[in-house]
């Protein structure tokens, strides 16, 4: 019926309401009430379709009231509802009617489940932008106020996220009220609400007038930063970044720095961790002068904090901190005030700290230049390359490219090799996998000769690893190496070794030959594929293990496009046809698939 009405009906029908007789709201509501949660969820997810069927008028007068009344459902359903309503403005008749969406979202913003509430707040924020300034004050602001003075903490928590979206567009009188509400939430009785307020403090500060920031936000910030609960204090650190960006250097020094200094020495490690974690942002926000006077000493303390978590977070920031220092005097500051602490961390007792440092330390070489790198950093790199923890060594190796640009990799190769060999044979396959990933990069930097002498045998050994993931990675590695070193190299060093494995007594190794051919054939080109690889593949079609045979079919399908027509017709086709008659169903299936893909059937 619906399909019969073609595009001819024209624009006249587009604005009209849906067909009442077809979709009585009762039927749709039945769907939303279905006993099966999954079905209810599906219906809610298609709420826009329902609204479309009802038309804007009935959506406003019938569907939305229904939704508002029945907000007691599984959280999953509520979540979907909260999300849908954020995009509903068009379906209720555009911005003039956007406020109709507020009642259901208001209820959703008070439910217990955080995920649902957050989504409701997100949708409310979205919809707030669609309100006209008048509607905003008439409908949206009162909602925020109601939430902010709700009985249960959930509504107050939700309110925290709504202040910043309505503040800029409100009149001055209303602005004062909004600020007042925010203030009282910052000193709420419930820590959950204070946390929510603290986490929105920075965002709110950004939309306030500078005077209000100084006179109201700063005292709130100071209070939250000395809250009795560390979970509140640590959120104030985040707000500090936003607030600092708004203030002049003078105000910063007077209003914010005392609090930040205190946070960097907080008795709770969680707060100190937060300072370390946000260090780069803080550094940018306070500017170079305060950084030198205050942040660098604080950073030194964080690097030697008593908790490994804090040290690791600080170690992660070493490179960014150095990069962000002003160019003049940077080298001296790093050499005198940062490097001594880094040296200590290289032999830290905690492996996470060392590994965090190893992931960034190489980046310092570009900043410090060739001489300093050789004299001061190289010993640290070498020490970390010999670290007992594989992750530390891996992090160093994975960042070799930074050093390569500055001093070349040769300086390291003596120590690099034992480190690589050891990682290549590590008991944990994830470590082996990680080092394989870096092989092409290393090969490029160390050159063909070094590679052939020292690393080639490792790459071959991985092909017969016990773990499939390693064998798989090893085959892909070969392909990348061939792309780097060229086909001639492949023909001389790789291909013969791969092909020998075709006669291995272990069928897994025989299959590895096929997998290698799959990825190497393209890189090696038609000649090598036809002359050297194809005969081996065809021979393996007679293997006694079915898995090998159907992989032969798969390989033939894969390399088929590279071969010329003669080879396909005369050599590949008969073998595939034979496999197509195999006793094993899988072999048959893949052989037939190959035949049809290669158009040989």
């Amino acid at each position: 019926m619906a399909g019969a009405a073609g595009p001819g009906t024209g624009p006249g029908a587009a604005g009209g309401d849906g067909d009442d007789s077809l979709y009585p709201i009762a039927v749709l509501i039945d769907e939303l009430r279905n006993e099966d949660v999954q079905l209810r969820l599906n219906s809610i997810k298609k709420l826009s379709t329902i609204a479309l069927a009802l038309g804007v008028e009935r959506t406003r007068t019938e569907l939305l009231p229904f939704l508002t009344d029945t907000i007691y459902d599984e959280d999953e359903v509520l979540l979907a509802l909260a999300e849908q309503l954020g995009n509903f403005t068009g379906l209720v008749g555009g911005p003039d009617f956007a406020h109709c969406l507020l009642p259901p979202l208001e209820s959703l913003a008070t439910v217990e489940e955080t995920v649902v509430r957050d989504k409701a707040v997100e949708s409310l924020r979205q919809i707030s932008q669609e309100h006209t300034p008048i509607a905003l004050e008439a409908h949206f602001v009162p909602l925020v106020k109601r939430l902010a003075s709700g009985d249960w903490f959930t509504s107050r928590t939700s309110a925290c996220g709504l202040f910043s979206v309505c503040y800029p567009r409100a009149s001055n009188a209303v602005k004062a009220e909004i600020r007042q509400h925010f203030r009282s939430l910052c000193s709420d009785d419930t820590p959950m609400v204070r946390r929510a307020a603290a986490s929105k403090l920075g965002e709110f500060a950004k939309v306030l007038e500078l005077d209000s920031v100084k006179s109201e936000i700063v005292p709130l910030f100071t209070n939250l930063a000395s809250d009795e609960q560390d979970s509140v204090r640590l959120l104030a650190v985040e707000a500090c970044v936003s607030i600092a960006q708004l203030l002049s250097q003078e105000d910063l020094e007077a209003l914010v720095m005392p609090t930040l200094r205190q946070a960097a020495e907080d008795k709770s490690w969680r707060v100190r961790y937060m300072v370390a974690d946000k260090f780069s942002e803080l550094q940018k926000a306070v500017g170079p002068k305060i950084t030198l006077n205050d942040l660098i000493p604080a950073f030194q303390n964080l690097l030697k904090d008593c908790e490994a978590e804090v040290r690791a977070a600080a170690a992660h920031k070493v490179k960014e901190l150095c990069e962000n220092l002003p160019p003049e005097g940077r080298e001296t500051i790093i050499m005198n005030q940062i490097l001594p602490f880094i040296k200590e961390l290289v032999s830290d007792t905690n492996q996470h700290v060392k590994s965090a440092l190893a992931s960034v330390i190489m980046g310092l070489s570009t900043i410090l230049g060739k001489e300093n790198t050789i004299e001061h950093l190289l010993p640290l790199f070498l020490a970390q390359l010999k670290d007992e923890c594989p992750e530390v060594r891996l992090n160093i190796i994975s960042n070799l490219d930074c050093v390569n640009e500055v001093i070349g990799i040769r300086q390291l190769s003596q120590s690099l090799l034992p480190a690589i060999v050891e990682l290549a044979e590590d008991a944990k396959w994830r470590v082996r996998l990680a080092i394989i990933e870096y092989m092409p990069l290393l090969a490029g930097q160390l050159g063909v000769q070094f590679f052939d002498e020292k690393l080639n045998s490792l790459c071959m050994a991985w092909l017969v690893d016990h773990v499939y993931a390693i064998r798989e990675a090893a085959t892909n590695n070969l392909m990348k190496l061939v792309k780097k070193f060229g086909t001639e190299w492949a023909q001389n060093t790789i291909v013969p070794k791969v092909l020998v494995m075709a006669g291995d007594p272990n069928y897994l190794h025989r299959m590895t030959t096929l997998f290698c051919i799959n990825v190497l054939s393209e890189a090696c080109g038609q000649e090598i594929t036809t002359k050297q690889m194809l005969p081996i593949v065809l021979k393996m079609a007679g293997d006694q293990v079915a898995n090998v045979r159907f992989n032969v079919a798969k390989s033939l399908q894969k390399i088929g496009p590279i071969l010329d027509t003669d080879a396909l017709q005369e050599e590949v086709k008969p073998v595939l046809q034979k496999l197509g008659q195999d006793e094993d169903v899988d072999v048959k299936y893949f052989a037939q698939e190959a035949l049809s893909v290669l158009a040989l059937a």
Partner: protein, 486 residues
């Protein structure tokens, strides 16, 4: 707990072989391999060298005039903290403090009249200095309390004695809450509650007793304590999902609820519905479910009208994928049904038995089995019999189906028994349901088809509207371009 872990030597040999294969070692093996670790509190920051302790004379050797003065000196001496992560430093001083603490414990428990007003301040100061500390980050970021050994507090040799002393102090017949409340105030309790997150079960055990005593003796702190526990739980449920002391706090609450006066205050009911019930959603429910269910049942025994909202709440949070939790929920439902009043039962029988009917047909046999065990409970059986007209139609479909289809023979046998019991309760209805079973299935299938049809039509409508929009946009466009052409 640790009875099943293999000897360390054997385990490490097994590791190298198994790790070569897939790198995933069994958790129990890893656990055994890791030696017991302990951790210090986060309070030691390189604070320079420690003051060395010098032994003071024994309290029992002092004259009664000097005793009080000496008692306070010893309390002050015990405020000095030592780093237990460094097992070789300050050995002598550590031993002196240990001996002093021991002496203090004995002193307050064997002597009467020694807890005088002037001593309270020093006593609380000593306790605070030793036990209040920021708990360090967990050694094991993915610490699984059910599987892993907890990290033990390194300074336990001292802290244990401090807790011991604290308890003797609180339990002493000389103890006067009216004086102590000047020192044991809200801030003190707040810090005490934060310590419940300690990973060390020995410490949490002490804390449990301490908090219980404080709740008992300080009437002015009761509401505050309840509110703070409330906040800890809400944070646990909705923010961190991590707090080590949930079971201990619930245990205290169990006895607190027991003492609530009737009628229950709105605050308490709110706590039940908005905190205890949502706690069932926690990932680590297994760790505290027994205590939680106890609290819930305590509430229902106080006020039976809470039964309906509680059961509806549990049904709302019914586990969807975790069979282990589902078994726990079923256990709790049985505990509730054990104390339910028949009038309350009538109010929730329909939604409840719809859920039970789903559990009975669960493909996880432990869930199905746990649900079917309800039929072994005499009281539940009598409730079912009274309401057989309602319950049988709800249960019949699933029971009938699994009696034919379930993979597990034990379940099938249990279902046969249940069907037999139900048939005996109302044979006529049973026969009717049996004969209409097929028609019922058909009707469901038809309904399903109708639903699909409806949605298909709605989709078509949506497409049509989208098309119309596009067309009108196109028309507008062509009109505009036509005019510009002219």
């Amino acid at each position: 707990m640790s009875s099943s872990s293999p000897p360390v030597g054997a385990a490490s040999a097994a590791i190298s072989a198994s790790e070569k294969v897939d790198g995933f070692t069994r958790k129990s093996v890893r656990k055994a391999q890791r030696q017991k670790r302990s951790q210090g509190s986060s309070q030691f920051r390189s604070q320079g060298s420690q003051a060395e302790l010098h032994p003071l004379p024994q309290l029992k050797d002092a004259t009664s005039n000097e005793q009080q003065e000496l008692f306070c000196q010893k309390l002050q001496q015990c405020c000095i903290l030592f780093d237990f992560m460094d097992s070789v430093s300050d050995l002598k001083s550590k031993e002196i403090k240990r001996a002093t603490l021991n002496e203090l414990v004995e002193y307050v428990s064997t002597n009467r009249g020694v807890i005088v007003e002037s001593a309270y301040s020093d006593i609380v100061k000593m306790i605070s200095a030793n036990i209040f500390r920021t708990l360090p980050p967990s050694d094991n970021p993915d610490f699984d309390p059910e599987e892993d050994e907890p990290t033990l507090e390194a300074s336990w040799p001292h802290i244990q004695l401090v807790y011991e002393f604290f308890l003797r102090f609180l339990e002493s017949p000389d103890f006067q809450p009216s004086i102590a409340k000047r020192y044991i105030d809200q801030k003190f309790v707040q810090q005490l509650l934060e310590l419940f997150d300690s990973e060390d079960p020995r410490e949490r055990d002490f804390l449990k007793t301490v908090l219980h005593r404080i709740y008992g003796k300080f009437l002015g702190l009761r509401a505050f304590i309840r509110k703070q526990i409330n906040n800890i739980f809400l944070r646990f449920i909705y923010e961190t999902e991590h707090f080590n002391g949930v079971a201990e706090l619930l245990e205290i609450l169990g006895s607190i609820i027991n003492g609530f006066a009737l009628p229950l205050k709105a605050e308490h009911k709110q706590f039940l519905m908005k905190v205890l019930i949502p706690m069932h959603t926690a990932k680590g429910l297994a760790l505290f479910h027994a205590q939680l269910a106890y609290c819930v049942v305590q509430f229902l025994e106080k006020d039976t009208t809470l039964t309906e909202p509680v059961i509806r709440g549990l049904l709302k949070f019914w586990p969807k994928t975790c069979s282990q939790k589902e078994v726990m929920f079923l256990g709790e439902i049985e505990e509730i049904l054990d104390v339910i009043e028949p009038t309350q039962f009538k109010k929730i029988e329909e939604p409840l038995f719809k859920q039970i009917s789903k559990c009975v047909s669960s493909s996880h046999f432990q869930v199905a089995e746990r649900a079917l065990y309800f039929w072994n409970n005499e009281y539940i059986l009598s409730l079912i019999e009274e309401n057989i007209d309602k319950i049988l139609p709800i249960m019949f479909g699933s029971l009938y189906k699994i009696s034919k289809e379930h993979w597990n023979p034990t379940i099938v046998a249990l279902v046969y028994n249940v069907l037999k019991t139900l048939m005996e309760m109302n044979g006529k209805l049973f026969d009717d349901l049996t004969s209409s079973y097929k028609a019922e299935r058909q009707r469901e299938k038809k309904k399903e088809l109708e639903r699909e049809e409806l949605w298909k039509k709605l989709e078509e409508l949506k497409l049509k509207k989208a098309l119309e929009k596009q067309n009108s946009a196109y028309n507008m466009h062509s009109i505009l371009s036509n005019t510009s052409d002219e």
